[in-house]
Symmetry: C2
Subunit: 153 residues, 2 copies
């Protein structure tokens, strides 16, 4: 079942991308604690990887999501006590967002819960395959993103 034309190849490629995104998301969220969604875990993960606070607008840009979606995500994380939100003392419009201790604990629990699936994945597929495919995905993402400035993250 090899695609004949380039158009079919590209269509098949994006088709797989879309379905993998959907299935992967569902599988992730099935095991995440606290009913967390990927978008929410991603924000926690962001804070744990880069040890610094951020702002809703900057996070929205980081995750390529509208500001409205980030308002929603941060609101839920805040309701769970996983992030701390305070007005920016230097910018009357802005807010500062930072992770809490409970947020770190939740992130650790998330990592615990997704590790089995990830290791099974890594034992089923040679990780080199993922590593080999990653550059294409990254440049494709950058291309689709319209060559937008992306110096933060």
């Amino acid at each position: 079942m090899k695609p004949e034309s380039e158009e079919q190849l590209l269509f098949a490629f994006f088709n797989e991308i879309g379905i993998i995104a959907q299935l992967g998301r569902a599988q992730f969220e099935r095991v995440l604690p606290h009913g967390l969604k990927i978008s929410q875990f991603s924000v926690l993960n962001h804070f744990v990887r880069l040890e610094r606070d951020s702002t809703p607008a900057r996070l929205a840009r980081n995750f390529q999501v509208t500001k409205g979606a980030m308002t929603n995500t941060l609101g839920r994380l805040h309701a769970l006590g996983f992030v701390d939100i305070s007005p920016d003392p230097r910018d009357g419009r802005g807010k500062r967002v930072r992770i809490t201790c409970a947020g770190r604990a939740a992130h650790a629990a998330c990592v615990q819960s997704i590790t089995p699936g990830l290791t099974e994945l890594a034992s089923t597929f040679a990780p080199e395959q993922f590593r080999a495919a990653l550059p294409l995905l990254q440049s494709l993402r950058a291309y689709l993103d319209g060559a937008r400035d992306r110096f933060d993250d």
Copy 2:
């Protein structure tokens, strides 16, 4: 090698997959005529590629969406006059779905509208890259799909 970087590798991989799916979907739907969504175009595309009618349940399995989602998709396509839905004479529960002439025309218009973006993509990235990455994506999809039977499509 190190388990920690493997985890990060997999996470980065799925992260790119998710964002590409989101950006690609948005880019597709921005140019599709009739306000069609990818899910709807996919159904039209399915009918044009395979010259035969189908049923809502079978389509839902083909595209790995719930039956409820397919009810919605087919309802919109039917409202636009792009598919024809009739009760299955041999199965009192089922329905037969088939594409209409207007549906074929709409599909052709869709192809016309997305071709420029696809050719630009094919000129920016070597198609061999996509071809090389496709097997991993396909087997990954099959893996995430839980080794479900998939003999139709």
